[in-house]
Subunit: 603 residues, 2 copies
């Protein structure tokens, strides 16, 4: 058996000699599109071999026909043709172009660096038959701490037979024995509690291996799509209902993951949960009263260890839940996890991290400092408030290119007839319209450009026809309106203004930025070239941009596996400077300047 | 109002000007006998004024008629005549002669030194109306730790109103805020879990004041009177039933104490429980399997902090239970508490501490070391295995004097017709018989001494008539048999042998002993002169003997009030040398030599 790691998820799968990478990927739930169904015709299932090229077959004639020599040279292959041929560690990068996007909920983050120094560990010790001192002294071993929890002592008193030697598993949390078992593989569960989705990772705390990845829509969504409506509900009806919803969801996910891994929730000794400040408060049953009013103060920003049972989580009775620190009311532990996953705190040069959503969090490192802000970018990037906007589900145009003549090439999730446009494709189209001159830098559509695709819509405002009704699944034209463009301009201006303010504060110049990390599901599907074209971020070399997907989940998993990283997270949260944009005088000016395409520098 | 402290209990009561000390004592549950019902006739309600003689009335003519000039000079007064006349701190010693013994279950220990540095404390802090940082940072005060428990954060998030200044009570356990209340007086509950009785002390953790003292028969007694039968039951039926019994008992006592003090169990934030090793294990639901077999290893000897709720104790949800360390299978945390209460660890010279019961624990300090042993003294001192033996209940002869002619003067609990003899009176009688020559030093009754009180009983063995049936409540003679004398000889020999072995090991000579502490309910009623006469302890000056009653309870209360003392308890338990008598070769020889009256030195 050979192990294949799929990046950027970091998902590992066992492969048999002779299997194609596409087969391995599909079997293990890694999302690769393949319209021609493995016949090497469409060239869509491209992957890049990062490591272990010796262990895969040489490029076939079919691949050479589809892929350019340069691509082949860079290590790109068709996953339907590239087969495992001998043992070795194979690492494969699946570019977002090769993903269907149907599994957007399942996108995982890349683990940039793995540290394995978990807080929970297991030690096997032989209890001698003849015990002279106390039982807990009799099992003395240099690997065991002196402290035993009452629960572990109760178990020990029952399991130790008089006069019989016995080997037992001691589960240790930090410097305390918390359980005694005949045998056991201690597991951990990392949870990224998003406003929309909840993702969980079941991890073997000894090997560091991820045993199962699960996700579910956040059931709180029944009480509103965004954090504001969740807060409203909590203030009116009490926090308890929303608290129970998310705890139940975590319990179900954990059970599902344990079932998938052939384990029991009894073996889960630790959980790490990250989320924005509102999700954090609802999970811990902290009333979010003050999060509703400026200056949005959380109850606490400290990292917490609590008995998982005390908030209703059904893992082992001794399981702890660790929640990393928060930075502010609108910058939660998910951002701390982003920072941990991307290693921003250890990089030398200037770095920008942006996690795009309805609220976009921005972190900038520079001048030996770290600063963070949150900006209200609105839901346009997620397809809301866009005439034909939709999420990345079947029928969504998720990538688009505007040709010089105004025609549009696009990709649709599930290769179906289009039903709407995702935020990422909207950005592609706006960037394209600007490039080919169908839209000016103020964002106005050029109605006199000579393309019939630009017309005056029913509302009296200009619009751009992305696809005509003959080719859509909805029986009407799919268009991008002038108003849609304005929505995206406002959204990107909010992000860009926040970025500019942090960069100025830390004296970071765009040309010096060594890395731009784009985190979050939306960012993962966003075409970095289009994003730069519309001015979502400054002129940064594309090679310095990293799409890191669900970095929050990856950071949660990394902290589950490493006590050191928890310490770093605490330091980062204490050190980071929170910039409250609402109280920054320059914000309005920066915002206004960022509205044009590409904005700011072009001024 | 004036405060009167009753010693050796240390019980404090408020008194009004004009009240007699007897009235104050009775109102506050301090046990003083008064057969003449306050008419200054019987002279039984004698107390000694230790402090505050200026605040009480001068001796009346009636008192001068009853008390000797020497007694009066020493500060003795009739409590029925001695009245509070002005403000001041009055401290009164109630000698055991003035106690009825009916309340033997209520005997409290003397607190030798009070330290007030409790682990739980309250801090009042104003939460400002406008909060910029996190809520827990906003209440920052030099008196508050940085750490908040989740429970306290949940409360804080609900209690802090937006835009309103609010003063709140923060309850701190060690270095963590564990609760937030509008207002609250944090209480503690110290419990001495005896095999027979359970005593509880409700304490105000801020002032150190004892608010209520309660006690109850240990309900486990339904499963056997001694620790061996409790272990048997636990091994056959599981530990759970006995565990529940004692937890329920503590819950009831705590509720009763809180009701008496006008408080709620919600205000109890900490408990300290001491007991012998078996009681300790049953309380904590540790299976006592190994306590049944030599070498009697406990599961743990370490001090433990557990959430009280986790073992079913119904105090505040955040209440902790502290159990001090154990020394060995037969030397429990009650002995550690004895040591703490009597300050043995701080005394300079050689000291002996003995806690007499079915198992008698002995602690000796000397040569800069501490050593402890446990010896199986049996139940004779408690009246069991003695023909007319009984506990100190109504009708029990609890003190006796054998006159030169063989007649017996005695005191009966409740001044009733006698029904039997307590262990303490048995010791008085044996000592008396020896002194007046009616018994030789081997313990044999002298049948040819010319008193008709010594006769051959129905069993064919000699016996001594303590009271003839005309004067008893049972319609038959109350006698002390030759076998009874043997039982007491074996019991005292076991204690004396243990004491001798420890003294030799630490090079302690009887003449150098600075203090002999006699702990436990039985020891409190034992006449020290009689005890010395029969050789229960070596020739130690009477002024150096201290009857400290329930020192274990006092020690538990002292540890409830002082984190420092818990640290000392831990040090003491680690440092103390446990001597396992069964493995001491000299034990049999010492035991044999200690059987005669007075034993050992006389040889």
């Amino acid at each position: 058996m050979v192990t294949v790691s799929f990046m950027p998820e970091g998902k590992r799968a066992e492969a048999k000699i002779g299997e194609s990478l596409l087969e391995v990927a599909r079997r293990s739930g890694v999302d690769i599109i393949g319209p021609c169904n493995g016949r090497a015709l469409c060239g869509k299932c491209t992957v890049k071999i990062i490591n272990g090229s010796d262990s895969v077959s040489a490029a076939t004639e079919e691949e050479k026909a589809v892929l350019t020599p340069r691509k082949l040279n860079e290590g790109y292959r068709l996953s339907c043709r590239c087969r495992v041929v001998r043992e070795g560690a194979i690492s494969v990068f699946v570019p977002s172009e090769s993903r269907s996007g149907e599994y957007v909920l399942l996108v995982e983050g890349e683990v940039f660096e793995e540290r394995l120094d978990p807080v929970v560990r297991k030690v096997r010790v032989v209890l001698p038959a003849k015990v002279w001192g106390a039982l807990d002294e009799a099992v003395a071993s240099p690997d065991l701490p002196r402290r035993f929890s009452l629960h572990s002592l109760q178990k020990l008193s029952r399991m130790a037979d008089v006069g019989t030697e016995k080997e037992l598993s001691f589960i240790i949390h930090n410097d305390e024995v918390v359980d005694v078992r005949e045998n056991c593989r201690p597991l951990g569960f990392a949870v990224d509690v998003g406003t929309t989705k909840v993702a969980g990772y079941l991890v073997d705390l000894t090997s560091g291996k991820t045993l199962a990845t699960v996700s579910e829509i956040n059931p709180q969504i029944a009480y509103g799509e965004d954090v504001i409506s969740r807060i409203d509900h909590a203030l009116k009806e009490g926090v308890e209902v929303l608290h129970r919803k998310i705890v139940d969801c975590i319990n179900e996910l954990m059970k599902k993951a344990c079932d998938a891994a052939g384990s029991s929730v009894e073996d889960v000794y630790e959980l790490v949960a990250v989320g924005n400040t509102v999700m954090h408060h609802l999970l811990l049953s902290l009333e979010p009263k003050r999060l509703a009013y400026f200056p949005y103060t959380p109850t606490t920003r400290e990292p917490l260890y609590v008995m998982a049972e005390s908030i209703g989580i059904r893992a082992n009775a001794e399981a702890r839940l660790f929640t990393p620190p928060l930075i502010a009311g609108y910058i939660g532990s998910d951002v701390v996890a982003d920072i941990i996953a991307t290693n921003v705190y250890e990089e030398d040069g200037p770095v920008i991290l942006v996690d795009i959503g309805t609220n976009t969090e921005i972190v900038v490192k520079g001048d030996g400092r770290l600063a963070a802000c949150s900006t209200a970018s609105g839901p346009a990037f997620e397809g809301a408030h866009i005439a034909y906007g939709m999420r990345a589900a079947t029928g969504a145009i998720y990538r688009a290119e505007v040709l010089a003549d105004g025609d549009v090439k696009y990709k649709v999730v599930g290769n179906a007839m289009p039903r709407g446009i995702t935020g990422s494709a909207v950005v592609d189209i706006i960037a394209g319209l600007f490039k080919v001159g169908l839209m000016d830098r103020t964002g106005r559509l050029n109605t006199s450009a000579g393309t019939r695709r630009i017309r005056v819509g029913a509302t009296g405002y200009p619009e751009f026809v992305v696809e005509y009704k003959e080719n859509t699944a909805i029986g009407e034209d799919i268009t991008l309106t002038q108003k849609d463009i304005r929505e995206i301009q406002l959204a990107k201006a909010a992000i860009r203004a926040g970025m500019n303010i942090l960069m100025k504060r830390l004296r970071v110049k765009a040309s010096e930025v060594e890395r731009l990390y784009v985190a979050g599901a939306f960012g993962f599907f966003l075409n970095p070239i289009s994003a730069r074209t519309i001015g979502l971020y400054p002129e940064i070399e594309l090679s310095r941009v990293r799409l890191v997907g669900n970095a929050a989940g990856a950071g949660a998993r990394a902290m589950l596996l490493s006590g050191t990283l928890r310490g770093i997270a605490h330091d980062v949260a204490k050190k980071i400077e929170h910039v409250e944009l609402a109280s920054e005088q320059e914000f309005q000016r920066e915002f206004m300047e960022a509205i044009p395409i590409p904005g700011t520098e072009a001024v």
